[in-house]
């Protein structure tokens, strides 16, 4: 297993967000996390990327325990890419500088080398002519695609996507989803928290429904989204269908 999450617990104040959650992800697998707002999808991703400290349990990446307090979080984060709902591009840097910052400063690659690789990616996602632009000149969909490229140039073992289309206008969602679909074809291992059930169905190998701080139900998308076993999952999906999102 590439990623193994074991009985992870996270508490904010007296609010239990994750309550002994288990989840494992194999290499090249795409797992979609679904569940109501506040069910802990984002918190789980932040725990895996060590932006949030777990209160109990362990997380292993490639068999190495990353929740060990002696492990260097900077070294571990280099192997995990994280893309945020709100893009979080650096507004004072051009698109190209946003992408090459980590390769140059963290991975100590030469500036020319990093730029060439960044341009290759931008070309591939159709944003080459935006290389010199500042983020505020880009649409939400373009910013999010740049954010994904920024995570990818570090060649991560695992890519975490946190509601990456939730802040986008409906007509811009497609371009981001297409990019993620291509990454899946490349064999990238991904864990994505999403509200896009239709997309989860298409791209995910497995869907995990989070409820009460645990994975209540998981399995192939057709089963979890089409014929769920748990009443809570049925309730959740009924609300989604009611909102016209499935």
């Amino acid at each position: 297993m590439l990623l193994e999450i074991d009985k992870v617990r996270k508490v904010f104040g007296d609010h239990v967000i994750l309550d002994g959650l288990d989840l494992s992800v194999a290499e090249h697998e795409v797992v979609a996390l679904i569940g109501a707002s506040g069910s802990g999808k984002s918190t789980l991703l932040r725990c895996v990327n060590l932006l949030t400290e777990v209160d109990d349990g362990t997380i292993h990446l490639d068999g190495e325990e990353i929740t060990d307090p002696r492990a260097d979080p900077d070294l571990i984060r280099r192997r995990i890419g994280l893309v945020f709902q709100s893009y979080n591009l650096f507004p004072h840097m051009t698109v190209l500088d946003n992408i090459t910052l980590a390769p140059v400063r963290v991975h100590r690659r030469s500036s020319g080398d990093a730029k060439a690789q960044a341009m290759q990616w931008l070309d591939r996602v159709g944003l080459a002519e935006k290389a010199g632009a500042y983020p505020d000149r880009l649409s939400g969909g373009q910013q999010q695609r740049v954010a994904i490229v920024r995570a990818l140039v570090n060649n991560p073992r695992l890519l975490l996507l946190d509601e990456v289309t939730s802040a986008l206008d409906p007509e811009l969602v497609g371009e981001v989803l297409t990019m993620i679909r291509e990454l899946k074809n490349d064999g990238m291992t991904m864990v994505l928290a999403t509200h896009e059930m239709g997309f989860a169905k298409q791209v995910a190998d497995r869907v995990a429904f989070l409820d009460g701080g645990r994975v209540l139900e998981q399995g192939p998308p057709e089963q979890v989204l089409g014929d769920p076993v748990e009443p809570r999952t049925r309730q959740f999906l009924a609300r989604i269908i009611e909102a016209g999102r499935l």
Partner: protein
């Protein structure tokens, strides 16, 4: 594509033009009235002739201008050195105050104590303490009074600038640090490449404003003895029992400040435009 405004739009344009003309006329009239009242009031005052003689005497002004200009050169040099040092010190203190964790408690406490005490202490007292207190210790290698005075100004302004920088650092959203750290950057790298560049840009207007204030306050070094523009003017006043040299020095200070103030306004305007452009 050419567009001919509708009659309604033409009416609107004509109406707005009429209002604009009226506003300009009104402003011109009120300015003229206020100006006349001031001129008549001051020159018509019973003591005007005496004041004119002892504050605005052209001969005295010309006589002391070279000395005052010499002194002003010292002010300019002090401004450049003190502004550079105070900004560096302020930035350092601001960064130290953001450090988390128990290991850094003493550093944080020291930095906080510094900004609290030196923002409260009057600059004049700091100058006296540094310029007269430190040499009083009779230590070997005590620097010149000029250097001590400059140090007093730097230390006082550093405390103000530290707070300006800290406000800037805190205005950068935590998600920016999260994004930087998620890419593998260390705390230091995130600070250096992501937080500080944004923070400094945001606080450029207040930073420059404090520099304008510093521009005047470097004149307080005259209290410690060095002959700057104010000290040179003071000597002239004492020699002639005529306040004209002070007025000359005052005018020169204003002229010196003008470019800095213009730059400050320009930067502030640009920052406001950027903010309004949205992101």
């Amino acid at each position: 594509m050419s567009h001919t405004p509708s009659t309604r739009q033409q009416e609107r344009i004509a109406y707005r033009r009429g209002r604009a003309v009226r506003s300009v006329l009104l402003a011109a009239t009120s300015t003229a009235v206020v100006g006349t009242v001031l001129a008549v009031g001051i020159t018509g005052a019973p003591g005007w002739d005496r004041v004119k003689e002892s504050f605005f005497d052209p001969d005295t002004a010309v006589e002391y201008l070279p000395e005052i200009l010499d002194g002003l050169w010292l002010n300019v040099k002090l401004l450049v050195v003190c502004a550079t040092c105070a900004m560096t010190l302020g930035l350092l203190i601001a960064v130290l105050r953001t450090l988390r964790g128990p290991v850094f408690f003493p550093v944080r406490a020291l930095a906080t104590g510094y900004t609290y005490s030196f923002r409260g202490l009057p600059l004049i007292i700091v100058i006296y303490l540094f310029a007269f207190g430190v040499p009083g210790l009779r230590l070997q290698g005590t620097p010149d009074v000029l250097v001590l005075g400059a140090a007093a100004i730097t230390v006082t302004y550093g405390a103000y600038l530290a707070e300006v920088f800290r406000a800037g650092i805190e205005s950068v959203h935590p998600s920016q640090i999260a994004a930087a750290r998620s890419l593998g950057l260390s705390y230091r790298q995130a600070m250096r490449h992501v937080v500080l560049p944004q923070a400094v840009r945001r606080v450029a207007p207040p930073l420059l404003n404090d520099t304008v204030a510093l521009q005047k306050d470097v004149g307080l070094i005259s209290l410690a003895g060095p002959i700057d523009a104010i000290r040179a003017a003071q000597i002239g006043v004492a020699q002639n029992a005529d306040f004209t040299p002070y007025v000359v020095a005052g005018v020169l200070f204003v002229l010196l400040a003008l470019p800095l103030i213009a730059v400050t306004d320009w930067v502030t305007l640009r920052a406001a435009r950027r903010q309004n452009a949205g992101s």
